[in-house]
Symmetry: C2
Subunit: 534 residues, 2 copies
């Protein structure tokens, strides 16, 4: 991290202290100063900036790691480390084509570096006695892509301000750097298949050690994440290493897939083969440039997928040790029975962005016959029954929406909660976001579509504010953000702005449906979901 | 461009037309629809979106090109091309460390692809009779880095809205893809050393052909650019190919350096050598992956710099043909005598970002003795005279600022204007932006610091709004944006919001000084600038 080194060097000449600099403000104020916005960590002081009252720290190092090794504590530093600019994000495969979905989900890309163990903090106080709830965000993008800042909607300022919470977002290793299982080639590589998970654990350890100095309560830490990030949250519930590091969990829009160690080791074997290396030469992998390594490993993934019919993507490894078992195979650690869980999905998880392309046929224009044809195409013989069940579950939605209704992420939510209930965990809250942004007459909310509501970031989306910029959307962000914040504060989402929301039990299968009119519904789409099962 | 192909394929099933979708708005409205925001181009229809009344088109292809070849007209398409998401930007060397300056100059990174000939448009009208002034922005980053969207401040919406102008920003080839001079290896490579300049010419041809359909006046086109972008503007004034393609020019904060063909050809020779290729194998360069090519060429640049003492960076090639001569060697085309020019710089062009690091000594804290020591360190024997001249030129500034005053970009402005006057061009306006953002008591305005004022984008900078968010900063963006817009409209920056501003002549060496209090000053820093010359 060149930048930091330079600044640390310069600071050797640091003058004692001088007048605090405060910038007068018309529309907002930003303070960067010698004395304000400086916090202690175990490893040294960090300087953030104060953005309209929100203390903001970017790119604080929480760990360091050699390639394929578990992380260690970061090196300590002298003087004050400037944390005004985001730290590097984890390397990902080079992107050569823009993502067409960027119009709906604005992205932010950044410098990438293997030394990516850094986190960002937004907080309303630096008082160690403030003890505000802490919300730690694990980003999505599977375990392959994304970063703590990829989503414009991941910016923590509004959530911190609206909820008076400490928001932390985490960069950590991904793909081949995070999940290549080299354990068969030597003890030093024992945990390489879960190095990325190790980073996440390290980030939570850092939070335990340091967050009080950022106004946070280390005894009230909520981890939340979406898509791959949701599975990262689950992974923390699955590893003994994370015991005691968090108190509540939110799993948004994900599945329960993990990798067997056999498949993971086969990927590693083919990766070596693709690079012309034998198992004895495994150490040479440490020096292979990332792009070369990534390409070789991606080819290996494809081959394993072809041969085994499973795998084919980067996922943590069920090694019986760091991750003892998959979540539906008893993998959720027993101590997580005391960790309240919120889990849910969006209405149209699998909705491709083509639905909002005005060039394509708009579902809202479909005739009755066209709806029937589409449903038959998708559900075959079951089409009529699916439509009947859909109408029962969603009387207020157009028939055409039946084509887009998600059954995979929602089913995963039920499965995880069933397992928890079986194991004795009773604080389980299930939600479903069915709000339809009013584009082209209404679009089923897509994968990632709930994130700006959770972060209270409607205003940050710019033109991607295709979410509506409607009064309904603004009301919904108050409701959803309040539910998340209430849950972080007490382990129960109920409270101001949030309609009454029961825990999900065998006797009362409650789902909070977030929409233009939000409210709890009980067993309302059971028949539909059952019908849609393969 | 996968995204486009997919959408075009889907559109084969396009329904006739359906209800126009309009999104109700609380804080703003965004319209994406089948019928609104669709414009004709010579190559096919394009769909943008309407963002609070501003028609916005992203990633319109204006050309296509083989590697090392001059661009050709883009392929035509059927149906409507969705231009809702930015097009790919030109490949640049991989960035592994964040830029510490991002706090002051927020950046945006994006998918990179050699097929990067695309442009973005913001306009208030799609009426072919509207004939609004057109402002085409060439981005900075030398000829090596950057993109049409790298600077958050490059967003054209506010400029289009405030000035009622059509704003165009252009992606084009950079570095080894734009400026590797292979002319010695075959006629087909004759112009490879200026392929990037060819892209810019192609973008202006596209504007001539198409901009009327976006409400623009093809007979009133202003090109403007900063740093490398300023030299791109100058390059248009130097090539016979650009005659008739623009009407006014704005050159912001650049120098006048170009590359000799000898040096450029040596870079090409060493690039081949580094790749183990002979001149006969030049065609193989077409298939070398970008990263490999870039690395080989960067090494070649370094070697040429060592051997010749010049070169060492990507710059257009003075080949006596596409670019007949360097700007100070009579290279400005005679027809540009009829092109009014605005040219200028910022006070602290060479100010490194360390000045705003609270860890470092702040110039505003220096004692009189420390100021003297710093000036002696920089100016040696001339230090006292420099300080006296500085005080005369800038009576309102602290002595310490003398350490940061720019003499290179400002001198280049004088040199270019002197050449123009010699050649008979009389519409020359020189400016200098000396506003000091109130960080740590005041910072000399850095390289790039004027851009948000020109684009009226104070509000877009987020926390990088370290520019001040002060009433003075908001007044200044009105003044500067108005000056740029007036100039685009009439060739004269004078008008509403802008203090009286004379052309620069031998008898009246006028500079518009933009600051908290802006105004014209005459010959005011001549002695200082003369003293600072080597």
């Amino acid at each position: 991290m060149k930048r930091r080194l330079v600044w640390i060097m310069l600071s050797a000449a640091l003058a004692a202290t001088s007048a605090v600099s405060v910038m007068a403000a018309e529309t907002g104020s930003v303070i960067v100063s010698k004395t304000e916005g400086v916090a202690d960590t175990v490893y040294g002081k960090v300087r953030g900036f104060i953005d309209e009252g929100t203390y903001t720290f970017r790119g604080i190092p929480y760990a360091k790691a050699e390639r394929f090794q578990m992380p260690e504590a970061p090196d300590a530093w002298e003087d004050v480390l400037n944390c005004l600019v985001y730290g590097p994000t984890a390397p990902i495969t080079k992107m050569t084509s823009p993502d067409g979905g960027d119009f709906l989900i604005p992205h932010r890309y950044w410098a990438q570096n293997e030394n990516c163990q850094n986190l960002n903090i937004w907080t309303q106080s630096l008082d160690p006695e403030a003890k505000k709830p802490v919300m730690v965000w694990f980003h999505g993008g599977g375990f392959t892509n994304g970063s703590a800042i990829e989503g414009v909607a991941y910016d923590g300022k509004n959530l911190s301000e609206y909820g008076d919470v400490v928001v932390v977002t985490v960069n950590h290793r991904l793909n081949v750097l995070g999940y290549l299982d080299l354990s068969q080639y030597g003890e030093e590589y024992q945990y390489s298949g879960n190095a990325g998970i190790g980073d996440l654990v390290a980030s939570l350890k850092w939070v335990q050690e340091n967050i009080a100095n950022f106004g946070g309560d280390p005894e009230n830490v909520t981890i939340f994440g979406q898509s791959g990030g949701g599975r990262k949250v689950m992974s923390m519930m699955m590893t003994p290493e994370a015991e005691g590091l968090f108190d509540r969990a939110v799993v948004q829009s994900t599945n329960t897939s993990y990798q067997t160690q056999d498949a993971a080791q086969l990927v590693a074997a083919y990766t070596l083969e693709n690079l012309g290396l034998t198992g004895d030469q495994v150490d040479e992998l440490k020096d292979v440039p990332y792009d070369t390594l990534d390409a070789a490993a991606s080819e290996a993934q494809k081959r394993v997928k072809e041969e085994l019919g499973t795998g084919g993507s980067w996922v943590p490894v069920i090694d019986g040790d760091y991750l003892p078992a998959a979540p539906l195979d008893g993998g959720l650690q027993e101590w997580t029975n005391d960790v309240p869980l919120m889990i849910g999905s969006t209405f149209g998880e699998s909705n491709s962005f083509s639905e909002v392309d005005p060039n394509t046929v708009n579902k809202n224009d479909w005739t009755e016959e066209e709806v029937s044809a589409k449903l038959e195409e998708k559900f075959g013989e079951k089409a009529e029954n699916v439509l009947a069940a859909f109408r029962q579950a969603w009387p207020e939605k157009k028939d055409a929406n039946a084509y887009y209704v998600d059954d995979s992420k929602r089913r995963a939510a039920f499965q995880v909660v069933d397992k928890r209930i079986e194991s004795g965990a009773d604080a389980n809250y299930i939600y479903l976001v069915s709000y339809e942004p009013p584009i082209e007459g209404g679009v089923s909310l897509w994968h990632c579509g709930e994130i700006p509501f959770v972060f209270h970031n409607m205003d940050l989306l710019g033109v991607g504010a295709s979410y509506g910029n409607t009064p309904e959307a603004y009301k919904l962000q108050d409701e959803m953000c309040s539910a998340w914040v209430n849950f972080a504060r007490t382990g129960d989402p109920n409270g101001e702005n949030v309609p009454a929301w029961s825990t999900y039990t065998a006797d009362h299968e409650a789902t909070m449906v977030f929409d233009a009119e939000s409210g709890e519904r009980v067993s309302f789409d059971k028949e539909l979901q059952d019908l849609m099962k393969k």
